[in-house]
Amino acid sequence: MNASVRISASSLRAHKRRFAGTFLAVLLGVAFLAGTLVMGDTLRASFDTMFGNATSGTDAVVRSANTITTPGESQGVRQPVDTDLVTAIEKAPGVAAAVPDIQGAGQLIGADGDPIGGAGPPTLAGNWIDDTKLNAYQLAEGRAPSKSGEVVVNRGAAEQGDLKIGDTTTLRTPDPVKVTIVGLATFGGEDGMAQVTYTGMTQADAEKYLTAKPGEAASILVRAGPGTGERELVDALTPVLPKGVEAITGQELAAENTDMISGQFLTLFTTFLLVFSGVALLVATFSIHNTFAIVVAQRTRENALLRALGASRRQVTASTLVEASVVAVTASAAGLAGGIGIAAGLQALFPAIGFPFPEGDLVISGLSMLLPLAVGIVVCLGSALLPAVRAGRTAPLAALRETAVDQSGASRTRAVVGTGLAALAVAITLTGVIVSPSLWLAGSGAILALAAFVVLGPVASTTAVRVLGSPLDRLRGVTGGLARRNALRSPKRTAATASALMIGVAVVSLFTVFGASLKATMDQTVARSFAGDVAVSTPSFGAGGSGLSPKLAPAIAERPEVGTAVGLGRGVAEVDGKGRALTVTDPVALERTFDLGDVQGSMRDLGTDGIAITENEADKQGLKTGDTAQLAFTDGEKETFTVRAVYGQSELAGDYVITRDAWAPHRTQDSDTLVAVSFKDGVSAADGKAAVEKAAAAYGNPEVQTRDEYAQSAAGGIDMMLTLVYALLALAVLIALLGIANTLTLAVHERTRELGLLRAVGQTRSQLRAMVRWESVLVAAFGTVGGLALGGFLGWVLVKASDGASDSAFAFAVPPVQLAVVALVGLAAGALAGWRPARRAARLDVLRAIATE
């Protein structure tokens, strides 16, 4: 063992406590990262298994080759296939069986009258396939549906809705259909495909309720006879299929489904988590750097002695780095174990809180272990590098001087560089936000702003702590004054400690501001463009169940209290080769319940060949009233529409409006997503709402909301997202607090004699504790205020950049209450971080403290 290693080993042994904070910071960051990766892999594998199970008996799938994907949609809309094809397919060589597979949305109503599922995972309905190999579901109890109105449901859904065999309930397709449960099904031995609900009906019922017209199916499932492989089967099928229809193997379908989930949902999910583990690790970097910097400063004499005794710079640097490596490796390894624990915990936790995650064994890949390990080690060593080099530079003479406490910080260079950076950041950001809106520019500006804050930290800390702490002198007398001066002692250290918290708080405030702005935008949108009194809508999050029955709007309109009730459905078509979402509605009624802004032309007579578009889209496509546009539908039909109206505001009404009659020939399952209602004059809000609720009751009880409620529910997803973000950021904040606690512990150690003196001349234990705690609160206050300022600025940038990048107007809102809560939490957390160092300081033995060298 060489000298550097021996020195660092003994130093680690002697100062285990000093590295506890560093150890925890690395551990938590690595655990988060590893947990994310393991969970991502596990989910991917589970979905793999799930989709594999779903198609395990299916050798080939025949389906339409065309999809239309609209912006923001993960899955394209595919045209149905003709069930007549079954006959031709059955004649192809190697085919043992072929059945149409009708798929649609159907939401069951539970025994308590509330819909089952619908808040995320799809609520599926289809034809019950008798061929047990081709059916992804297996009959577990009861029998298959044999006559109209009989259904099989998956056991999980039945349990959720407290439904049993023999029960009669309603299925929203979205028209309410009375169904009797005759059987319960399982999926791959489980009670369901994750949280997806499934209702299997007879083929006739499925065609009636789930397709636009009989003789259509989503696809045709084909099973091969003995001796025919999947590939051979597909090859044999291809020649018998008409143009625009394709055959793929069951495996390919499973892979496609998995890719879709991975590509959209999982990637988003894991990227999201990775970003937050990145934030946590960034925060950890500051804490670790600070710890090593302090430890090296405290060890100046020791290192100087080593240098005086003949140790080379390299050896002194190496001994610090070896110390860092030991901490890095052990903490990262512990972090890996923690990460696996987190993944296992989340896997158990998510289903319990209703998250749609499939079960399965944890998948621990080499990458998901090596990457966090490497990141942990790099972060730790990287953070320790500068302090280590500084340790190596210790002059042998320093051994003879009094232990020097780092007084530097507010150097002129730093101030100049920091101010320059800040100016550059603001300039770039403003350019990206105002002059030529660009997310890229705004983003770079934001990162520069962060850098500027970190560089300026030590410069600002002196003034900031002085200002923030000024009430302390008055409030807490000499205890407060001492706390304030202690926080001012080493501006660099205070700044580095606070920076960690600042980053955490900045990200929290960024999301808080952005979330509030989104909500304000939503409010504004509803207030501006929704002229009705109440809205009937399905949950805006996820698949949203089966939507609303198209018969609901007319039923509501019949009520005497109601003036206008308009249903908005959704359709897709390609306009100019690009998928577009269409709003399918009654344009005349639409104009009465929504504020469409300036309308050129008339919404009155769109007929079956007219279309209305927003000004925005019209400008983009170069269209004006009277022009024609070709729309290609999923059924392969192309039709020419005349632009009869151009309207100003799109927000709730969408960019393209066509009539129900125009859409009818091309539609699949018919449903509305929103019914907007305005009351007749003189009808009170309560009466009107009650009337609408009464009418809606017959249609599966969808929620009836006033304008405000509608705006709030539209923003409901934002709150959920924010809660998740806060939970994830709690880790980064925790690491930052560990950093504060650690710095304070080291500072207390450093000031042992001074604390002893204070105690000797009459500082009580509680005064001493208060002094350390207040110092902690001050450092936290500095970080929190900096974070709020930075986060608020970044939030503004994000909102403005989003505003520039999207068509709809974004409102910027600063939520004072939430930000005040963030500030309070920051301060309280500071007090908490100071708790243990304060207690340790108060426990110091006065005599020993005085005697400490």
């Binding site: 205890t479 004699r753 204070l758 000797a760």
Partner: protein, 258 residues
């Protein structure tokens, strides 16, 4: 708590009775104090002398409430220290005792003025008129008026010790304990500090107990008590450096531990 000060030479500022202090236990037990009884009269300057390891610092720490006795009793005025919990002991130190240590006497973040008033500030008092005048006078006595707003790091060692002396007397305590106050100073600065202590006792009627191993320092006291092996072995009134030195040499010749 009584702040009535004992101003007459016949009154007792501090005393210990049958003081025993044992460090460690079993075979490694060390009896630092082995039944010491000594009284420090008010208005007097007493020096505690003895070779290294004689227990003189332990005696001072126990008498000043910085350390607790294994057995026996320590009093400040009429207050028995062993009956006080940590908090009361702290308040007693703050209000009735002043300290001058060998080094590191000042809080580096506070100015000279703030260091002087630290015990009073810790007590929460804003300083009434009389204490203001007293401190004002004190500042002149220690000769630091032009340094009041400096930080300790900007002062020389001697100046720092003078600030410590001013701090020790600022609250008009019953007794000031000084632990080798000149140990880190050159002889001229040391002389200044000792003169200050002496003037405080003789001109301002204060009480000082000083631990030292330096006969020259001890010569500034009104009386010297000698400790050896944890026992009180001698007392000397009106000491001079030569007399003290001779007395100390006697310890060495007897082979006392050094």
């Amino acid at each position: 708590m009584s702040t009535a000060t004992a101003t007459k030479g016949t009154q007792t500022a501090a005393r210990v009775a049958d003081a025993v202090k044992v460090y460690g236990s079993g075979d490694t037990a060390v009896r630092a104090l082995d039944g010491v009884s000594v009284t420090f009269p008010a208005g007097r300057f007493t020096a505690i002398m003895g070779p290294s390891g004689s227990g003189k610092s332990t005696l001072m720490h126990c008498a000043a409430g910085l350390d607790t006795l294994t057995s026996g009793a320590a009093f400040i005025g009429d207050t028995e220290l062993s009956r006080l919990d940590d908090r009361r002991l702290t308040l007693l130190r703050r209000d009735r005792i002043g300290f001058v240590f060998q080094a590191f006497n000042l809080v580096p973040t506070l100015t000279v003025a703030e260091n002087i008033t630290l015990p009073m500030d810790l007590a929460g008092g804003r300083g009434d008129g009389s204490s203001g005048e007293w401190i004002d006078a004190l500042v002149d006595v220690v000769g630091l008026r032009d340094r009041l707003h400096h930080r300790p790091s900007e002062l020389s060692g001697g100046q720092q010790q003078r600030v410590a002396v001013a701090r020790a007397f600022a609250g008009q305590p019953d007794v000031v304990f000084a632990d080798e106050p000149t140990g880190n100073l050159d002889s001229r600065s040391g002389e200044e500090v000792l003169n200050l202590l002496g003037r405080a006792v003789r001109q301002m009627d204060r009480t000082v107990v000083m631990v030292t191993h330096d006969p020259v320092a001890a010569a500034h006291a009104d009386e010297v008590v000698f400790l050896a092996d944890g026992r009180l072995v001698d007392r000397m009134e009106s000491p001079t450096a030569d007399k003290v030195l001779d007395r100390m040499k006697a310890f060495d010749s007897k082979g006392a531990p050094s």
